[in-house]
């Protein structure tokens, strides 16, 4: 009870205080009326206002009667016409506002319908005119509250009886389209991986495209499929047909002339590689391909083929005189997507049988009457891949591989003109494990890949590759120009079997990717 007294006393004082602090600040009020009116008339884009259109024939307007206006303007009476629309504009969600605030009424006359003028229907168009500016509306609220509240209640009820009802909006800017995320992103699912692989990999990847969003915004992954897929260039060919797509993924075959671990160009290795590749998703749920554990495995083999003799005649390969012989070998290339939350893993291993007979590249030893040759039988690389994009539009895409590479180098000696090795002269001279860092870059404006680059540092040598899209024909045909550069050793001396660097250029044709 005592507490009550306190309250009462307080409130009486408070009410007094309020009454005292109401000086009529007419000038300020006018200022605001002017400012608001100006703002409403001039600012076309930025106003967060809602509106509701009444047809001139609307029964409610007739019931409402005419609305009084200030400054001796005649009261606004609504024209009962099909061609006239009255747009009541109001403020809905103002900060600190609890209710709708009616602001002004525009009269929109569709002249193509209502034109009965003398000049005929020459100008078909819409004329919009502010018939009840903010001053008048404010006046209506202050002095004719009855009519104001009828209009107000009508609008308020629209949303009450139908929760899904939406008012029109006058907002000219589209903040939602401009959602900018400032930081680059990395997807935690396979999006980046699939994007990268389908743009750069020799073999085909199912492409996941987001179908148009349903009402609840569900996206479904659809694959665009072609009867067969072909990627053909001067250094490698891959092919897969629809019948090779089995339920879990797909298979394809390839031919190539490349050795990815060693710092040599295609054609320089003296081998012809062939391979069989399968892609599967090791997941229980087939629908969520993006979250599944995918395994891309290639079983590789290669046989020796004297491509080195061809190389001098090839205008597109500028070989830096690499003196390494490769051997017939088998191997494996595996890419997996994030097993147990680890990064993407890549493993490549090629194991060849030591065969020293009749190397393609021999070096004459001037001191003795012998030849010698260098061989590499085993190559391997294990790395982790990290993907990221500079923005959520996925325009500039990056991938960084960090790992370890391995190769061995054997040296063998021959008698001049003899094909077989001198017994016991084969020795292991290099057995190298070295860190390897590869940076990939893809540029894909509007989701279509335009350019790809690769920069790899391994064993103090740089290998760079790149491609650019030249032409794209409808129906899945695609032509790219591609180039590769290998540098000589940097910050260390060149070994005898290494090249001083070289470059090659080619055109690739891709279909169905």
């Amino acid at each position: 009870m005592r507490r009550m007294k306190t309250f009462t006393a307080f409130f009486s004082v408070l009410v007094l205080a309020i009454l005292v602090t109401i000086p009529a600040k007419a000038q300020e009020v006018d200022d605001y009326l002017y400012k608001i009116d100006l703002k409403l008339r001039k600012d076309k884009k930025y106003l967060n206002l809602s509106y509701y259109d009444f047809f001139g024939t609307d029964k409610f307007l007739a019931d409402l009667g005419s609305l009084p206006r200030t400054q001796d303007k005649p009261p606004l009476s609504f024209k009962n016409s099909d061609a006239v629309t009255y747009r009541v504009v109001f403020l809905k969600d103002g900060v600190g506002m609890d209710t709708l605030v009616l602001l002004y009424i525009n009269e929109i006359v569709d002249q193509s319908v209502a034109d009965e003028g003398i000049f005929g229907s020459g100008q078909a168009g819409v004329a919009e005119q502010m018939v009840m500016p903010f001053n008048d509306m404010y006046n209506l609220m202050v002095n004719h509250y009855g009519q104001y509240s009828r209009l107000y209640n009508y609008l308020d009820r629209l949303q009450k009886i139908d929760p899904e009802f939406k008012f029109g909006s006058l907002l000219g800017i589209v903040p939602d389209d401009d959602i900018s995320t400032s930081l680059g992103i990395t997807s935690r699912d396979n999006t980046d991986y699939v994007n990268f692989m389908s743009a750069n990999y020799l073999h085909w990847y199912p492409k996941m495209r987001k179908a148009e969003k349903g009402r609840r915004g569900e996206t479904t992954a659809t694959t665009i499929s072609y009867p067969y897929r072909l990627d053909a260039g001067l250094t490698s060919i891959s092919f897969s047909h629809q019948f090779m797509d089995f339920s879990l993924g797909g298979a394809s075959v390839e031919l190539n002339l490349e050795e990815p671990v060693l710092n040599i160009l295609p054609y320089s290795g003296g081998v012809l590689g062939f391979g069989f590749r399968t892609l599967i998703s090791v997941t229980d749920d087939k629908k969520e391909l993006n979250n599944s554990l995918m395994v891309d495995a290639r079983v590789l083999g290669r046989v020796i083929l004297n491509t080195k003799s061809v190389i001098d005649k090839l205008k597109f390969v500028l070989d830096g005189d690499s003196k390494l012989n490769l051997s017939t070998a088998v191997g494996l290339d595996i890419h997996t997507t994030r097993p147990f939350g680890l990064p993407f893993l890549n493993l490549y291993a090629m194991v060849g049988s030591p065969g020293y007979s009749d190397p393609f590249i021999r070096i004459q030893d001037t001191k003795s009457n012998r030849d010698y040759a260098y061989f590499s039988f085993k190559q391997a690389e294990a790395s982790m891949s990290f993907y990221w994009n500079t923005s959520d539009k996925l325009t500039a895409r990056f991938r960084l591989d960090v790992g370890v590479g391995y190769y061995d180098i054997y040296k063998a000696e021959y008698n001049r003109n003899a094909k077989t090795i001198i017994r016991g002269t084969n020795k292991l001279i290099v057995n190298l494990f070295s860190p390897v860092v590869t940076l990939y870059f893809n540029f894909a404006p509007d989701g279509s890949e335009l350019f790809g680059g690769k920069f790899r540092i391994f064993d103090s040598q740089v290998k760079a590759e790149g491609w650019i899209k030249l032409v794209e024909f409808p129906g899945g045909h695609n032509i790219r120009a591609a180039a590769a550069i290998v540098s000589g050793p940097i910050a260390r001396g060149k070994q005898e079997w290494e090249s001083e660097g070289g470059a090659m250029f080619q055109v690739r044709y891709r279909y169905g990717f």
């Binding site: 602090t21 608001i36 703002k39 967060n48 960090v402």
Partner: protein
């Protein structure tokens, strides 16, 4: 008592009421009509308060242009102070400041289009303050401003073809990401590749690391011939903005032989590897339990290398003559580091650390004929006498966020072998991605004869590439 209480509450509430209305001049003044209109005025526009700091903002500095603008305000009688028309004598008085050139104009653009949404005359000395005192009421509507100034001047303001200062915020603090973190630096790399949360907001991170050399015993990168590689686990009790705020971090690895990226100085001896070494490091904030802010960020680091087994002669490679060489087999570093000791605004925070580093040096002779190497100091130097204990102090400034991150420190150390060191470490990174790391150490009072494996000057450097998501 009751009355006192009543009185007290009344007075205090009234005071509070008044003070609140005084604060927001023209705000909740109790004038309902004005209040409502003001509210409507503020609400009709699409609100972008959240972006205020990212909007384009600049100061008009051109004195003549400022006069021109001011004059138009005067002509149009558009100057207001607390909502009311300003009396002419006040205008005169304030225009003096404009003539003195001590007034600038702060202009801010809207976020989604090109119109101006804030325009105010501000005295020079108020610029940059959070609640800057303005000369007159700011204009918060571009269209009103256009009415006052006329279209031409308004467009000129927007085009910014006059003397002006851009004060748009460029860089905002960002948070550390835990998806992956690749730090490539020849001297110390780390690749964080796995993370998990097992409870609440905690985080376990697994990474691989490499560390070249040992700065604490003043054998940085390049000069050490040994690189440690291994695995590392970082544990966060709960995630913080600062990635250095981990609860503890454990590293374990092996030492491997490394080359040197420059021509070997044959006059000085190198340290050789004489066995397989194991490397371990534990970092934690052990004084956190005291519960004081000061002790919270004292980090203790214990770093140990232990070499086991002895290489056979054949393991050292092919030598035809006897070689006498030195080898470091074990070391032990204990560092206490206090960070955030002082704050130097944008420069970063001062940090100080104290390190005790004990490392042993063995002198061996390699005889290619013999099976094993011989310890030349076996008799005159027992195990514990082979150690050199270096006490060193680092004083540095570190900044871990923002456009430019850096960590620069001066180092001073003195060892029980009777020589000292001084030097500097410096690391700077641009936008957290690219950077450079340099370390220079200079010996003082070094007896080069006695310690032939020591160098006069050590200089190592490496570029840094860091990708963190």
């Amino acid at each position: 008592m009751k009355i006192k209480f009543l009185f007290f509450t009344l007075v205090s509430s009234l005071l509070l009421l008044n003070s609140s209305s005084a604060q927001n001049e023209g705000g909740a003044t109790g004038n309902t009509e004005l209040d409502r209109l003001k509210m409507i005025y503020e609400s009709v526009e699409y609100n972008t308060i959240a972006f205020d700091d990212l909007k384009k903002k600049w100061l008009i500095d051109d004195p003549e242009f400022i006069r021109e603008i001011f004059n138009r305000f005067v002509v149009r009688n558009s100057l207001r102070l607390n909502g009311r028309v300003v009396k002419i004598d006040v205008v005169k008085e304030k225009s003096k400041a404009i003539q003195d050139g001590t007034v600038t104009i702060e202009v801010r653009k809207r976020y989604y289009d090109d119109e101006i949404e804030y325009f105010a005359f501000i005295p020079d000395d108020e610029v940059g303050k959070e609640n800057a005192r303005v000369l007159f009421d700011p204009v918060t509507d571009g269209f009103l401003l256009k009415e006052i100034l006329g279209e031409k001047v308004y467009d000129k303001i927007r085009e910014r073809t006059y003397f002006q200062k851009d004060i748009t915020k460029q860089q905002f603090t960002t948070k550390f990401g835990y998806a992956f973190d690749v730090k490539l630096n020849a001297l110390e790399s780390e690749v964080m590749f796995w993370n998990t949360t097992s409870d609440a907001r905690n985080k376990y991170l697994l990474s691989l690391f490499s560390k070249w050399g040992n700065d604490r015993m003043f054998f940085p990168g390049w000069f050490a011939n040994e690189m440690f590689i291994g695995g590392r686990m970082t544990y966060f009790k709960d995630l913080r903005n600062n990635p250095e705020d981990y609860t503890y971090r454990i590293s374990a690895g092996l030492g491997v032989q490394s080359g040197r990226p420059y021509k070997v100085d044959t006059k000085r001896d190198q340290l050789w590897l004489s066995g397989s070494s194991f490397y371990g490091q534990i970092e934690a904030y052990p004084l956190g339990f005291i519960g004081s802010d000061f002790f919270d960020d004292i980090k203790a680091t214990l770093e140990v290398k232990v070499t086991v087994g002895e290489n056979k002669s054949a393991d050292y490679g092919l030598y035809r003559t006897n070689q006498i060489f030195y080898s470091n087999r074990n070391f032990f570093n204990l560092t206490w580091k206090k960070s955030n000791l002082l704050q130097f605004e944008d420069l970063g925070n001062l940090e100080v650390s104290l390190t005790l580093s004990s490392s042993d040096i063995w002198k061996y002779e390699l005889n290619p004929v013999a099976k094993t190497v011989t310890d030349l100091e076996k008799n005159n130097k027992p195990f514990f006498k082979k150690f050199n204990h270096i006490l060193s102090v680092d004083v540095g400034i570190a900044k871990n966020s923002g456009l430019i991150q850096h960590n620069v420190a001066m180092v001073f150390g003195y060892g029980s072998d009777g020589y000292g060191f001084f030097g500097a470490r410096g690391m700077a990174m641009l936008s957290g991605n690219f950077g450079f790391d340099v370390r220079v150490y200079v010996s003082a009072g070094l007896n080069e004869k006695k310690f032939p494996y020591r160098y006069d000057t050590y200089l190592v450097f490496s570029p840094i590439l860091r990708i963190n998501y």
